[in-house]
């Protein structure tokens, strides 16, 4: 009974992506999802649509225009001052109203704190299936969404289907999917709906927002180059070797989980399943064994250089290049060699 799509749900059509707009800025995971959504929409032969929620003045126009550049055919927009700061109540209402009215078959959201908060509430309200943190999305033979996600820390993958409910919902973590190139000439149709809520109906109030720039939060997920250290660094003061190299490269720096647990680095710098997923052009991992939980957060890097004293370390199974050696010697040597290489390059260019 739970594997057949009931008749009244057969009208659900099109692939939707939630465009996460906050404080005038779109979270790039939205463009990653539109890129992925394009493939799903093409496989189904349906439209790709973006959903933009926010106050009119603060960037909704720009977000709508950009959704078209990232290949949306249509954008559903609810523009209301009550959507200025993220709050669950008005966002859940806006999204569930849109879904009930326009009936998408697939709805994707970024697995950010905002996206997960919203997705869980929306899926429960709509009584539909929600697959968390997908790493692969595909359309199967009966046109259902096959959503694949890691289980048990990535040692296995499982494919989850929502055959008898609509929309089929999924979240995807930032940087798990690749972002396509925008086509600035593209445009499309905008469908505007109203929120139908007044401030008095919303119980939760935002008293303040303390931005991270004030507290030096790391921006690992979107860094071009990341340098990270693991337990092979041996002592907390050796973290400086990682920071030195990162500084010469203008890179972000991060670590494996035990360093966070020991208090050597802050949690926002942890790379892996329970930390950040990174997708840099270059990832340098020093003294990191390459446990599965670390691997799932870092193997999307274009190029990985691993430094490890153990030639059998699992990290060499997924790194592109390896140096077998002592990270405490190799890191300062790399810093020095890069410094020289870069100054030569700057003199030349």
């Amino acid at each position: 009974k739970t594997t057949e799509l009931p008749e009244h749900l057969k009208a659900y059509k099109n692939v939707w992506v939630f465009v996460e707009l906050e404080h005038g800025r779109v979270h790039p995971v939205s463009w990653e999802l539109l890129t992925e959504g394009r493939k799903l929409a093409d496989a189904l032969g349906v439209d790709l649509c973006g959903v933009v929620l926010g106050p009119k003045a603060e960037g909704t126009d720009q977000a709508i225009a950009e959704a078209f550049h990232y290949s949306a055919n249509r954008v559903y927009a609810v523009e209301d001052p009550l959507l200025a700061e993220y709050r669950n109540e008005p966002y859940t209402k806006a999204m569930t109203d849109l879904v009930n009215k326009h009936k998408p078959e697939i709805l994707m959201l970024g697995a950010t704190t905002l996206g997960r908060d919203l997705a869980g509430a929306v899926a429960t309200t709509l009584q539909t299936g929600l697959t968390a943190d997908c790493t692969e999305l595909a359309i199967d033979a009966d046109k259902s969404l096959a959503a694949t996600r890691p289980t048990f820390g990535g040692s296995l993958l499982c494919t989850i289907m929502t055959r008898a409910a609509r929309p089929q919902m999924s979240t995807v973590r930032p940087r798990v999917m690749a972002m396509g190139d925008p086509d600035r000439s593209r445009s499309g149709e905008v469908v505007r709906e109203s929120l139908g809520m007044v401030e008095d109906e919303i119980v939760t109030k935002v008293l303040d927002f303390i931005p991270d720039s004030d507290t030096n939060q790391a921006q690992l997920a979107y860094a071009d180059i990341v340098v990270a250290g693991g337990m092979g660094l041996q002592r907390p003061e050796n973290i400086q070797l990682v920071i030195d190299l990162a500084q010469v490269l203008g890179a972000e720096y991060g670590c494996s989980r035990p360093l966070v647990q020991k208090g050597w680095m802050t949690a926002d710098r942890q790379i892996g399943q329970t930390g950040k997923t990174i997708r840099p052009r270059l990832y340098i991992a020093a003294g990191i064994s390459g446990a599965i939980q670390h691997r799932v957060g870092s193997e999307g890097a274009d190029q990985i250089l691993a430094i490890n004293s153990d030639p059998n370390a699992p990290i060499f199974d997924f790194a592109h290049h390896g140096i077998i050696g002592d990270a405490l010697e190799i890191l300062p040597a790399l810093t020095e060699a890069f410094r020289k290489r870069l100054s030569v390059d700057r003199l030349a260019g």
Binding site: R116, A123, A132, L156, L157, C158, R281, H321, I330, D345
Partner: protein, 287 residues
């Protein structure tokens, strides 16, 4: 004497994943002999509730849905100082996804609420096995509770005015939110440190009565919304990740010195992606 908050903390028993391995041939999880623990994220929720009780009085009930062996998680929670424990267990609950899990848990919390109004429901941020972070929002939605996820601190609570103020981890910053009780809080990791149970609590936990409810006792109205039957998501296959075809190419240098290895590594990396030089933007130091 004013009455303290009535709190429910949802905890899940999970396999200690640090000790789990995958059978190399059959691709199944080898659970035999793997110890079970309270989902580590739930300890932050339990501690947050215990701190409010220290401060204001009231009651902390721990609730889990799971097989009969999940009582050991409840006993551990009692050992940490929870007042009462409820095990929600029935074969109808088996195979639940997050939608069906939040349905069953909500039935039990609503039953508690009918006996004595519940002010706060706590869950962990997520579990280490299912790892979806969806059950908290599911319960909040079903019960119509104000939903506060990723909470790192609870600076104030006013039981008279029925108001609570929390810090919530958001994208790019921290939101300071004020809302009304009752509400559901999912607690962020590292937001506190679980206390050691006192000796009397630990002793009590070994003998304490664990209230056990099946679907009927919990007041579940629609068995069709429970377990496998009530779960819109279905696992269609489980498989091992594709290993990368090639292993890392090892960097070699004639003298094997760190300096030559470093130089060789840089040339190798730039040969693969010459554009890297452009994104290398050293923090301006006088060089």
């Amino acid at each position: 004497m004013s009455q303290g908050p009535n709190m429910v903390v949802c905890i899940k028993q999970v396999p200690d994943s640090a000790q789990i391995s995958v059978h190399p041939v059959t691709n199944t999880i080898m659970r035999q002999g793997v110890p079970t623990i309270i989902n580590p994220y739930d300890l932050f929720a339990l501690e947050a509730a215990l701190r409010l009780r220290d401060q204001l009085g009231g009651k902390v009930t721990v609730l889990t849905m799971g097989p009969p062996m999940a009582v050991s998680a409840l006993r551990k929670a009692l050992g940490h100082g929870a007042d009462e424990a409820i095990l929600l267990s029935d074969r109808f609950f088996a195979g639940a996804d997050t939608l069906a899990t939040s349905y069953a848990l909500t039935s039990a919390i609503q039953k508690l609420d009918s006996q004595h109004p519940v002010d706060l429901v706590f869950t962990g941020k997520q579990t280490i096995d299912g790892d979806t972070a969806q059950v908290g929002p599911g319960i909040a939605r079903r019960m119509g509770l104000n939903q506060l996820t990723y909470v790192s601190a609870i600076p104030s609570i006013d039981l008279e005015a029925r108001e609570i103020c929390v810090h919530r981890r958001a994208e790019g910053g921290v939101q300071v939110l004020k809302t009304k009780l009752p509400c559901l809080i999912t607690m962020l990791e590292a937001s506190n440190e679980m206390r050691r149970g006192s000796l009397p609590d630990v002793l009590r936990s070994e003998r304490a009565e664990i209230i056990t409810w099946n679907a009927e006792a919990a007041g579940v109205e629609d068995l069709g919304k429970c377990g496998m039957k009530g779960s819109p998501t279905k696992v269609s296959k489980v498989f091992a990740p594709q290993p990368r075809a090639e292993k890392a190419k090892m960097i070699k240098a004639d003298d094997g010195s760190p300096a030559s290895l470093a130089t060789a590594a840089i040339e190798t990396m730039l040969a693969e992606d010459a554009g890297l030089l452009k994104v290398m933007a050293p923090q301006s130091t006088s060089a």
